[in-house]
């Protein structure tokens, strides 16, 4: 060989695009740093154990008395309740789409289209839907059937807000579950059926355990999306102020996201109450993060178990 494999010219185009992608990453990191930094700097003075653990008792704009415990409780409760509603419905829908329905059938195509459209609906529309469908239709009719003169079900409450959020996050759960179902080798289903298992036994004992991490991913994405949403709960359950914590599914609740909105728009002195606002935002971020971490840890545990033994 006569060549010396010596580099004779710089590969400028590669150089340029490497730099460009690095810049893009730095830009995103910078944005994140600015947002989080701004919140922490402005909210730190207000952030304390007392702020986390007390309710405002009507004094929500008083720096000394403001507290967000009822909002933390409300947001956590509505997110967890939503998970309980959305996961079974989403998983069963995904099972139908991948395991039971024929891929070519019109029903499947209609359901897929519906799921995709549901994902594109603005969240305020879900709020109005929740008000019209869950509260005014289902709730008020329940009251009628149960013979109540005073509205119990037919008013905004924790359960209807959670269900509205569940409808909103349904597409995410369906799509991620479907993906994880499709990644299961068809050979496993065949092996089960060839051993004389019914379709249901195959789904319950072979397919679902394998899909569990994917289902939990769907749950994590749903939690992330729902925790910060305000619009869907605006008419369906979030309260400006209530005394104490909600005690039943039919009670209204206070919510971190909605509380931020209140602090921003209803404060008699925005400059003075700004630390409360920032601290509340900080708490919302931390709570969302925490809920995600818990879900991710559960998923890691399930994966570990599947890998070690199955």
């Amino acid at each position: 060989m006569s060549g010396k494999f010596k580099k004779e010219r710089l590969d400028w185009s590669s150089f340029f695009f490497t730099g460009l992608s690095l810049l893009a990453v730095l830009f995103i990191l910078l944005m994140l740093f600015l947002i989080v930094g701004n919140i922490v700097v402005n909210g730190w003075s207000q952030f304390s154990w007392g702020f986390l653990t007390r309710g405002s008792e009507g004094e929500m704009f008083d720096l000394a008395k403001a507290g967000v415990w009822p909002m933390i409780f409300g947001t956590t409760a509505r997110v967890l309740l939503m998970t309980i509603f959305v996961i079974p419905v989403g998983v069963i829908t995904a099972l139908y789409l991948t395991e039971y329905g024929k891929a070519s059938s019109p029903t499947i195509k209609v359901i897929r289209a519906a799921v995709n459209n549901l994902a594109g609906v603005p969240s305020i529309v879900f709020g109005l839907f929740g008000l019209g469908f869950f509260i005014q239709f289902i709730g008020q009719n329940m009251d009628g059937v149960l013979g109540r003169t005073e509205a119990l079900w037919g008013k905004p409450s924790l359960i209807w807000a959670s269900m509205t959020l569940a409808v909103m996050t349904l597409p995410v759960v369906i799509v991620t579950t479907e993906e994880s179902l499709r990644s299961i080798p068809p050979g496993l289903r065949e092996a089960s059926l060839a051993l004389g298992a019914t379709k249901l036994e195959t789904v319950l004992f072979i397919v679902l355990p394998q899909a569990l991490p994917g289902i939990l991913t769907g749950g994590i994405l749903a939690i992330s999306r729902a925790a910060g949403e305000v619009a869907p709960i605006l008419f369906t359950g979030a309260a400006y102020y209530i005394h104490g914590l909600p005690r039943a599914l039919t009670d209204e609740f206070m919510d971190l996201g909605y509380h931020i909105f209140i602090l921003t728009t209803q404060s008699p002195n925005i400059e003075k109450t700004r630390p409360i606002l920032y601290a509340t935002v900080m708490v919302l971020l931390m709570l969302t993060f925490l809920l995600n971490i818990v879900a991710i840890l559960i998923r890691a545990q399930v994966r570990k178990k599947l890998r070690s033994l199955g």
Partner: protein, 275 residues
């Protein structure tokens, strides 16, 4: 070539049978004029064949000739595919398995299957074997233990895995996984085992073990095996059926098929002139 070929009745064979017992082996699976369509295209054409009990019957033929499709007709695995239509009849032990009153679950308990790609469940070795048993109502731990040991012994895997029954089946080598799949199939005591190219993804040593195992298993089971490997068919089978473009071209004793086939196409295929 498209017309159904005459199948020579085993009684009129040129080559003498290997033993009287072979001659006496009664047909267990009798297929009569079976045709299979995917939508409008015909994949199997008018196939008639009698498969004998406790014998190894090999299906050979070039890719796409319908041998795997035909194998899957014998435990109704084709039911799972959309738009499949089947004509003709398949009788196993004098029962028409396509009759409307047949319980497919019961059929598949009697006609087990081993697939081309080993497909152990992502469970422990023990749970792989007991999966079918538990489904069919075997619950007692001592019964399960006995059957696990017996099945693994029969599949020549016991000595290699007896100390690690509770570890994941996915930790086994490819050949071990395939033998585990065989053990899993025989655990529920089928009468017939269908094997769809069970050794095609394995190395020669693992393949030899599977072949040895098949010869051993035919004492207890009727085995139907699809294979691409003609030497394999010649080594392990008693009868061989040659398929070509959806038709059964020739079916006879393996020795006859490989030494003195009646049909020109069979001769061309087994001598390696096409396929």
């Amino acid at each position: 070539m498209m017309s159904p070929m005459t199948i020579m009745p085993p009684q009129k064979l040129d080559s003498p049978p290997a033993g009287a017992a072979v001659m006496d082996a009664p047909p267990l699976i009798v297929v009569d004029k079976l045709s299979l369509y995917y939508g409008t295209s015909q994949a199997l054409k008018n196939i008639s064949i009698s498969i004998r009990e406790k014998m190894v019957t090999a299906f050979i033929g070039p890719s796409g000739c319908g041998k795997s499709t035909f194998l899957r007709c014998l435990n109704r695995m084709n039911d799972l595919i959309d738009n499949v239509r089947i004509e003709g009849s398949v009788q196993i032990a004098h029962h028409d398995i396509y009759s409307p009153d047949v319980d497919v679950i019961e059929l598949r308990k009697k006609v087990g299957m081993v697939f081309q790609r080993s497909n152990p469940f992502p469970k422990s070795i023990y749970d792989n074997i007991t999966y079918g048993l538990r489904l069919h109502g075997v619950k007692r731990k001592s019964d399960l233990d006995t059957i696990v040991e017996r099945s693994l012994q029969q599949a020549a895997l016991w000595d290699e895995v007896k100390d690690r029954l509770q570890t994941s089946a996915l930790g086994l080598s490819g050949g071990q996984q395939q033998r585990l799949c065989i053990a899993r199939a025989i655990a529920i005591q089928p009468e017939v085992i269908l094997m769809d190219e069970p050794a095609s993804a394995l190395d020669p040593i693992a393949t030899a073990k599977i072949e040895e195992l098949i010869l051993d298993l035919k004492k207890d089971f009727t085995i139907v095996i699809v294979t691409h490997n003609m030497q394999q068919a010649a080594r392990i089978s008693d009868f061989t059926a040659f398929f070509f473009i959806g038709s059964l071209i020739e079916y006879d004793r393996t020795r006859k098929i490989f030494t003195n086939p009646t049909q020109k196409q069979t001769e061309d295929y087994v001598t390696g002139r096409f396929g």
